[in-house]
């Protein structure tokens, strides 16, 4: 018994290191945060549309097609970085992107979209960040993929990069 004990720390040590090693080399993204909402229905919400000025009711709109939900703000620099990818998604994939304008000035947002181009099918105003709380948003930008049954399939925290763009495209294709 006593002979076996001294080697025990070594075994535990290498077990843990191999976990670390595996996670380092495997293609992963630490900012892909766990979400309790994955594979669940989207939270229901109502908001004012910045574009039409009408009331947007989630239960009516999320039906029959894959939709991207993107939380953004004009004051957020990474949002500017990912903007081109959003345009690419809306052009190439022909999916609706609903932008949720988080704690922002509507005036600035309109100018921003005019200058950079508008990938969104609709932009909703979330001045107080209530919708973001419902969706469990961690920090903006943040993007969700919602399938045709209104179920959240994917969540990404942070700006969309080339790699994430490919991943989102794959998920959209799979859900169509």
């Amino acid at each position: 018994m006593q002979k076996k004990i001294p080697i025990f720390p070594l075994i535990v040590f290498f077990f843990i290191l191999s976990v670390f090693f595996y996670l380092l080399i495997v293609d992963r993204n630490p900012s892909e945060l766990p979400s309790n909402l994955i594979n669940k229905n989207i939270p229901t919400f109502e908001a004012k549309s910045l574009i039409s000025g009408k009331k947007f009711i989630s239960t009516k709109e999320f039906k029959g097609e894959t939709i991207l939900v993107n939380f953004f703000a004009t004051w957020c620099k990474p949002c500017r970085d990912e903007h081109d990818f959003l345009k690419k998604i809306s052009d190439k994939k022909k999916v609706k992107i609903i932008g949720i304008n988080y704690k922002d000035s509507s005036k600035k947002t309109v100018i921003w979209l005019k200058n950079l181009g508008n990938p969104y099918s609709d932009v909703l105003v979330d001045k107080k960040g209530r919708i973001a709380i419902e969706w469990g948003v961690y920090g903006i930008p943040e993007t969700f993929v919602v399938n045709s049954n209104g179920i959240i399939k994917y969540r990404h925290v942070g700006a969309i990069t080339g790699k994430i763009y490919k991943k989102i495209s794959l998920i959209i294709d799979k859900n169509e």
Binding site: K3, P6, F14
Partner: protein
């Protein structure tokens, strides 16, 4: 030009460090002396040069460009040297070589074998870190095009507490490297030399432990007043990475006493010394590889992660294999009574190790789950509070009794007699505190009783001046008592109020009324801010203090920060954070009433003082052998 000299100095220290590996075992004393000193001077040189480059804002250097700006105050230009990954590695190396120097200073005829082996291990570690720095994180890398100004330094890091936090913590981590080296050297000696390795190891462990304590406390203090969440500990992976080595260092420190007095537990102590440093390195890995998401995460770079991981594997693989092969030489059959100082220290050891394992599990569990099932989970505060607190309680209880027990011989009736005065004092003080806060939560009451138990125990002995007690130990334990008091009261009895308030109106918290006088724009040295003016009145309508929380904007880095405004006294902190808002609707305010928080910081300082007293006492001991 200057940067090239810095780079040269860094390469020189690599050469010295490699030379030391070969020379330390068989070389002549003079040669070793030249190499050890050369290593110290060259690493100091490269560090000072990097500091100089930051002070003069030489933006031809990538590291300075990325982390500095001409408008930054001098203090933060200096602390900016170790506020980034590359520069902090240089500080690591410097501290490593300083400890290397002090190990060499212990060298004499009687211990030459142990010290030379220790120096060899120490130089292996140093070489590993220098290679890492030069090849993956060289701070002297030049810019392709020289820039006019730098990118600036994260403003929430521009803070006096955070300026000294990393150096203190590194002294702690690296101090454990000396314990590691001594442990490996001792295992290699096969216990034939009959040398007091533990007496050599102890001052280093004491230094590491004392500095870890104060370093962690200052980090917590910073989080408390800077992050504006009203709390001071968040079980963030990086906080855990510093807490775990601290727990093992605590266990190590205490069991070294048993080894010294009884020659018992030797193998266990050798293992603890290995694990404590390995955990420090793993902590570094977790922070700098980007494998975990944390508020502390440095710039992410997988190649760095792979390097540190391989280095950790070599260090851990070698030392733990050595332990597996040789530790039987240090198994001993010196048993001792359970109801004795040794017995209580053993319990302390077991509990500290269990807490450490618990924290470790909570920190890496999400990673293990992800590796095996591809699911992501997060482990947070509820887990840590639910597991760590109940294990710590008995440890604290034992801590109150342990030092009172004489070494190895005790009748139970005698123990009772000894502790009577402290029992009385504890009862009175606890009654007073609990009746002030009129709250009878189990954990709160228990925590306060235990805190006063330890405080009164140690004060009683300090006053009686019993000779067979170490003053350093008593002072440190007194500090732990204060610490527990502050932790318990501030976490159990904290009051929080989130409200919206217009100017010229007031709100209440606890027994204070807070009046919102006005709000103004102010301009600081490198920021602009909104500053609220609040007047705090007590029940008798007397002015207690004025509080001025700010919302700052730093244009260079484009970052907003909140500056909490805090009024402290020995009973409570009043803590205000200014949120968003406007003139017509009012501003969102977060107000906290935090009882006894200041005792956390006082406790940490007292522990540090106690540690320092013990360091000097142990150095005296070293001179005698």
């Amino acid at each position: 030009m200057v940067a090239s000299i810095g780079n040269l100095a860094l390469w020189l220290s690599l050469i010295f460090s490699i030379l030391q590996i070969y020379v330390s075992k068989k070389g002549k004393l003079k040669v070793i002396s030249v190499i050890v000193n050369g290593l110290l001077i060259s690493s100091l040189g490269s560090f000072i040069i990097l500091m100089y480059l930051h002070i003069v804002s030489d933006f031809s250097i990538l590291n300075v460009f990325e982390n500095s700006h001409t408008t930054k105050p001098l203090l933060y230009k200096i602390s900016g040297v170790w506020g980034n990954h590359e520069g902090s590695m240089l500080l690591w190396i410097l501290v490593l070589t300083i400890f290397n120097y002090f190990i060499f200073k212990l060298y004499n005829k009687n211990n030459s074998l142990l010290i030379s082996k220790t120096l060899k291990v120490q130089s292996l570690i140093t070489t590993g870190f220098i290679v890492f720095t030069i090849f993956t994180s060289n701070p002297f890398k030049k810019m392709i095009v020289e820039q006019e100004n730098g990118l600036g330094f994260n403003p929430i890091l521009q803070d006096p507490a955070l300026a000294i936090h990393p150096p203190l913590l590194y002294i702690g981590y690296v101090g454990l490297s000396a314990a590691f080296s001594f442990s490996v050297a001792t295992l290699n000696l096969n216990n034939k030399e009959n040398i007091a390795w533990y007496t050599y190891m102890k001052p280093f462990v004491l230094v590491a432990w004392a500095f870890l304590t104060i370093g962690i406390a200052i980090g917590a203090l910073w989080a408390y007043y800077e992050l504006g969440w009203g709390g001071w500990w968040f079980w963030d992976p990086v906080e855990n990475a510093s807490f775990m080595p601290w727990l093992l260092a605590t266990a190590l420190l205490h069991s070294l006493i048993i080894v010294e007095k009884r020659k018992s537990l030797q193998a266990w102590v050798l293992l603890l010394a290995l694990l404590a440093f390995l955990l420090s390195v793993i902590g570094t890995f977790l922070v700098r590889s980007g494998i975990l998401t944390s508020v502390h995460t440095f710039a992410l770079d997988p190649s760095r992660g792979i390097y540190i991981l391989i280095f950790t594997a070599i260090l851990g693989g070698y030392s733990l294999l050595l332990f597996g092969k040789k530790s039987k030489n240090y198994f001993d059959k010196n048993y001792f009574n359970f109801f004795s100082k040794e017995g209580s220290i053993l319990i302390n050891n077991i509990l500290m190790t269990i807490v450490c394992a618990t924290v470790f599990l909570g920190t890496v569990y999400p990673l293990i789950i992800e590796a095996f099932t591809n699911n992501k989970i997060s482990v947070g505060e509820p887990y840590f509070n639910a597991t760590v607190v109940p294990i710590m309680l008995p440890a604290i209880l034992v801590m109150g009794v342990g030092p009172l027990l004489a070494w190895n011989r005790n009748k139970k009736s005698e123990i009772l007699k000894k502790i009577l005065p402290s029992v009385l004092l504890t009862g009175i003080m606890s009654l007073i505190i609990v009746s002030i806060y009129k709250s009878f939560s189990l954990i709160g009451t228990l925590g306060v009783i235990l805190a006063f138990w330890i405080i009164s125990n140690n004060i009683v002995i300090l006053i009686k001046k019993r000779k067979n007690f170490s003053t350093g130990m008593l002072v440190s334990h007194l500090g732990v008592g204060f610490l527990i008091l502050g932790i318990t009261a501030s976490s159990v009895w904290q009051e929080e109020k989130i409200t919206k308030l217009k100017t010229n109106s007031s709100t209440e918290i606890n027994r204070y009324s807070i009046f919102f006088k006005d709000i103004n724009e102010v301009v600081g040295s490198n920021y602009v801010a909104l500053k609220g003016n609040f007047v705090v009145y007590d029940k008798e309508k007397k002015i207690v203090t004025e509080l001025t929380p700010e919302n700052r904007y730093y244009p260079v880095t484009n970052i907003y920060t909140t500056e909490a405004s805090i009024h402290s006294n020995i009973f409570r902190d009043l803590y205000i954070v200014l949120g968003t808002g406007n003139k017509s609707e009012g501003w969102v305010l977060k107000i906290y009433h935090n009882p006894l928080v200041i005792w956390i910081w006082i406790g940490a300082i007292v522990i540090f003082i106690g540690g320092t007293i013990s360091i000097f006492k142990n150095l005296e001991k070293l001179k005698k052998i």
